[in-house]
Amino acid sequence: MQRLINRPDEVVEDSVRGYVKANQHLLSSTDNPRVIKSNWSPTKGKVGIVTGGGSGHEPAFIGYVGKNLVDAVAIGEIFSSPSAKHFADAMRAANGGAGVACLYGNYAGDNMNVKMAVKMLKREGIEVKTVVANDDVASAPLDEKHKRRGVAGEILMWKVAGAAAAQGYDLDQVIAVAQKAIDNTLSVGIGLSSCTIPDVGHPNFNIDPGKMEIGIGHHGEPGVSVEDICSADVATRKMLDTILHDELFASGDEVVVLISGLGATPINELYIVYDSLCDMLDAHKITIEENFIGNLFTSLDMMGATLTMMKLDDELKQLVQAPCQSTGLSKF
């Protein structure tokens, strides 16, 4: 393991401290070292947007705290849900009196901890509603959609909900549009190598040289199939086919495309994927209205990429295009 760390079990603490120091124009730490909040939070009368999840996915989740995006974030250990207390403190930090929308990914730990945090906040008279992202199309079949994991599509959910809250949507409206955003979003990943949790010290799983896993999860959950590695064109085709199989997207649709590296894939390869994708979507008569490309939701040092597509209507389009500022995503 070749890493730039101090102590393996202090990776989260050390990196969050540095992140806060580097981005004081956007955010600050709170009394709970596992919660950071936007400089604009709480805004009186605005619905607070909260998320949280395990570390190791940077810039997710902390990188989406900012203006017109996420108000406060709960930070977990590497690949492990934040505790109920961390989620509860993030909700408190985001509460401007108009309720809090907690928008997070579908994982067993996050579900339990958020559930407990929502109960705690209820006792304090703070209303919290949730949307659980389940955009990973490869993680369960369509008829078991409730089992699907949340992956990079969460970024688009936060973007939409953050803009909606800034525009004065009330809590129920924010929840409804966040749910619509994630219902209109599908993602799929491919993994070309494993990843190593620093405190574990060896790779989480194994991908043989020359192989790739289609449908790999954000924590190295093994994919749905292992195949011989192929060209970017063919890999992009496989990812797109996996997404189109759900029949959410049709000819004539306008979409947002988000391509994220998983941590160790060179950024230029993401543009090779995008180049292939543009041609394929052209052929399907699907129009790309917006694109976000980069290391936007990673898995430590995993090699590979995820493709996310969101189908737009007028409301989603306006909210996606609204200005926002954070280290992970900005629009001007």
Binding site: D9, G54, G76, E77, I78, F79, S80, S81, P82, S83, A84, K85, H86, Y107, A108, G109, M112, N113, K115, M116, S139, A140, K147, I197, D199, V200, H202, N204, F205, G217, H219, G220, E221, P222, V224
Partner: protein
């Protein structure tokens, strides 16, 4: 008569701390390999807290310290799951001298509370298998009017059977569940830590039996 003290839980904590690598390695085979790390971290913190108390805290107080550390500082899946188990124990086991049946009732209550926050059930390749088998085995021993040492042995033996049964199961919950058939042949890490907790607790109680 069973005598409970914070010592029982310190031994449990030590067992989890020394099993850090083993638990993470098991978890890494079918999930993300962090089980040992998070468990060891939580139990180390709780152990420090227990040891810092003077006079020594009761079993219930120590159990509550473990629960709040897991709830507040650990998170993951194991924070709420083991937090719930230890919090339930702290609520029920408020005396330091009990019959084995009281220990059964406490773990039965913990199991019920757990089923309230998690949808996993026996057969899903989780720690629920260890807990459920341990309780079934213990309840049979109680129904047979066995002695306290025999009831305790049944508790531990049932936990072992439940733990080992996860090896041939297909994971239905957590990160291992996506592997489907590929999860067969590997012990569940949570079921393993649950077995370690129950067997260590039983061993330490038995060692104190007069």
């Amino acid at each position: 008569m069973i005598i409970l003290s914070c010592e029982n839980l310190i031994k449990v904590a030590n067992k989890i701390i020394e099993s850090k690598q083993y638990l993470s390695d098991l978890d890494g085979l079918i999930a993300d390999g962090d089980h040992g790390i998070n468990m060891a971290k939580g139990f180390s913190m709780a152990k420090e807290q227990i040891l810092a108390c003077s006079p020594a805290p009761s079993f219930a107080e120590s159990s509550e310290m473990i629960a709040s550390t897991l709830f507040n500082d650990i998170g993951g899946s194991m924070g709420p799951i083991y937090g719930t188990i230890f919090f339930s124990l702290s609520e029920v086991l408020d005396r330091d001298q009990i019959e084995a049946v009281a220990l059964y009732n406490a773990f039965k209550f913990a199991n019920e509370e757990l089923m309230d926050i998690s949808e996993a059930r026996k057969g899903d390749k989780t720690l629920m298998d260890t807990l459920a088998c341990a309780l079934e085995s213990m309840s049979l021993a109680i129904a047979d009017d066995k002695s306290d040492p025999e009831i305790l042995a049944a508790f531990s033996e049932g936990a072992k059977q439940g733990w080992e049964s996860t090896k041939e199961m297909v994971a239905k919950f957590g990160r291992a569940s996506r592997l489907g058939e590929r999860s067969i042949g590997v012990l569940d890490a949570g079921a393993t830590s649950c077995y370690l907790i129950i067997s260590t607790l039983v061993d330490s109680i038995v060692a104190d039996l007069d």
